[in-house]
């Protein structure tokens, strides 16, 4: 491994780093949007169907729960490969940024859904009961009580998921997904270019920091006092 110096920093291919950064941002944002869009309903369904809840369906809950656990226990690298035929079917390609988004979403949805379920369980039972006593129907309970009451928690869960997605994107290089993590592996590790490793890791760190502070700021913004 070579020593790190400032001249090497200047000699680096910044265009490639920039492109990789952009790829990471695209993968992250697109998959985060889909993860929330799919994970939120799945989380609500998990919450509602759990034993003792508003629409208790123990068998449905057990099957959903099992599916979520299976997907969460698969290492992401394996999920990437296992999903290749499915990705191909869905977006027409199984490689590159587009090919990476499908497995990213499939990997993150169960994660986010489980977090959503837990956040919803924190909603005061008495408040739900009060809205039932006021004659609220199920959709009113979901959209006027459960979601608004747990908004800070849902944002917090999305932040945790976004950070997890950043680390998932690093593995997308396996299927040519690109991005900063991939760059770090290919140049920094495989070609012994420590400076690339340092810069990409620093950029990823900044990204995670940024996501976390943005998430925290949103949580503060929507806290109720």
């Amino acid at each position: 491994m070579t020593d790190f110096s400032w001249s090497q920093l200047l000699a680096m291919d910044w265009v490639e780093i920039g492109e990789a950064g952009l790829d990471t941002l695209i993968m992250l944002s697109v998959s985060l949007v889909f993860t929330v869009l799919l994970g939120l309903p799945l989380g609500i369904l998990l919450y509602l169907s759990a034993p003792g809840q508003l629409r208790a369906r123990p068998r449905l809950y057990a099957s959903l729960s099992l599916l979520v656990n299976v997907l969460r226990s698969l290492p992401f690298v394996i999920l990437l490969i296992v999903l290749i035929p499915f990705t191909l079917l869905l977006v027409g390609t199984s490689i590159g940024v587009a090919g990476a988004i499908v497995p990213l979403v499939v990997g993150a949805v169960p994660f986010y859904a489980r977090l959503v379920e837990n956040v919803l369980r924190e909603v005061d039972r008495g408040v739900i009961e009060a809205s039932q006593a006021m004659g609220a129907c199920l959709s009113q309970i979901i959209f006027k009580v459960l979601l608004p009451e747990s908004l800070p928690g849902l944002i917090g869960a999305a932040t945790v998921t976004a950070v997890a997605l950043v680390s998932y994107t690093a593995m997308s290089g396996v299927i040519g997904g690109g991005g900063l993590g991939d760059l770090a592996v290919r140049y920094g590790y495989q070609r012994f270019q420590t400076e690339v490793m340092v810069v990409t890791v620093a950029l990823l760190l900044m990204l995670v920091q940024l996501l976390q502070s943005a998430g925290d700021a949103l949580v503060r913004r929507f806290r109720f006092d």
């Binding site: 005061d124 008495g126 408040v127 009961e129 009060a130 809205s131 039932q132 006593a133 006021m134 004659g135 609220a136 129907c137 009113q140 006027k144 009580v145 608004p148 009451e149 908004l151 109720f224 006092d225």
Partner: protein
């Protein structure tokens, strides 16, 4: 004096069993009640007696195993889910722990049931919210969140919210149990006010006899899932029939005319219990009868108080001397409007 009374709620043979890990526990055991319109009906019992289950059955938050609940002539048990939701919009409920939405301001919490009903325009809703906040005295706090309010203020929001859709029935589930005594008084006064102003039927549950005394017209005592005693508050307070009622009264320092057993042997002479209700309470009846009947008494215990504006008193006395037969005393006291029992 006969008075035509409309029945608001008729509960018949309610039965509810809970199973805890395979063990069956009877919460309500053949409960029947009649609750008249426009009054305040209190249900009292110890914790675990079934009172909470009973009030939650009145809007079917808890569905009984069997029995019937007739509300203003309508049977609740057979309503479809949507019909029940529509009916519930006109039954207000106030909770011990307020159960406000913490994501909504005071005004938005009061607006919530109006949004659920969806019958008013946005402007009409705002006007109604302003009216309700004025009624409970929270106009100045309309923009605050529940987390910024005191317990009493939160309960006022809860009451305003419960009244939003102009209910014909208000259910109070231990509405003052989480509040300090002073705040309790102000909330009870507010409920009494609402009952008077809106002619709104109120059903409340409590474990506190003082709440019953201050607020209720009728009371039912519930123990082990059964109604053991029911009637006008004054009757139940002054002539408690069931041991649970007596001990509930005694615990709150409201038990009257009961002598510690060890005293009885040390007191000579027959015992009289004199019960004053209304005007005679404020008259010197004992003095007057004492002169007429040559009655000299030893005063053992006594109380003077008020139940919902009606003064009442109860004295326990031992007869030291009397020129008339003790057995004739009840008749003499009765002439003065005082009930006398020879014990």
């Amino acid at each position: 004096m006969a008075r035509w009374i409309d029945i608001m709620i008729e509960v018949q043979s309610l039965r509810k069993t809970f199973s805890h890990g395979g063990r069956q526990q009877v919460a309500l055991d053949d409960v029947s009640l009649c609750i008249e319109e426009g009054g305040i009906f209190g249900i009292i019992g110890r914790s675990g007696a079934g009172k909470s289950t009973l009030i939650r059955c009145l809007n079917l938050l808890e569905r009984p195993d069997s029995g019937s609940i007739c509300l203003g002539g309508q049977e609740l048990m057979t309503l479809s889910e949507s019909a029940l939701q529509a009916r519930r919009q006109r039954i207000g409920m106030v909770f011990q722990h307020f159960n406000l939405l913490r994501s909504r301001t005071v005004a938005a919490n009061v607006r919530f049931p109006l949004e659920l009903a969806g019958t008013l325009s946005a402007q009409q809703m705002d006007a109604r919210v302003a009216e309700l906040l004025a009624l409970v005295g929270l106009t100045a706090h309309s923009g605050k969140y529940p987390a910024q309010l005191s317990g009493g203020q939160k309960q006022r929001v809860g009451i305003a919210r419960a009244l939003a859709n102009q209910p014909d029935l208000l259910l109070c589930d231990e509405a003052t149990s989480a509040l300090d005594p002073e705040t309790t008084d102000s909330i009870l006064a507010l409920l009494a006010d609402i009952n008077r102003q809106l002619r709104l039927t109120i059903v409340l549950i409590t474990h506190d006899m003082r709440v019953i005394r201050q607020l209720c017209d009728q009371v039912a005592v519930i123990d082990h899932g059964k109604v053991v005693e029911a009637g006008p508050v004054l009757d139940v307070f002054l002539q408690p029939q069931h041991s649970v009622t007596r001990s509930l009264l005694a615990e709150t320092g409201l038990g009257h005319g009961v002598l510690p057993a060890s005293w009885r042997e040390r007191i000579a002479g027959p015992l009289l219990r004199l019960t004053f209700v209304g005007e005679p309470t404020l008259e010197p009846v004992l003095d007057k009868v004492g002169r007429e009947a040559g009655l000299r008494v030893n005063l053992l215990s006594g109380t003077l108080s008020e139940i919902k504006g009606t003064p009442f008193g109860q004295l326990l006395v031992a007869v030291m001397a009397s020129t008339v037969e003790v057995a004739r005393l009840p008749e003499i006291f009765a002439r003065e409007g005082v009930r006398c029992e020879v014990l």
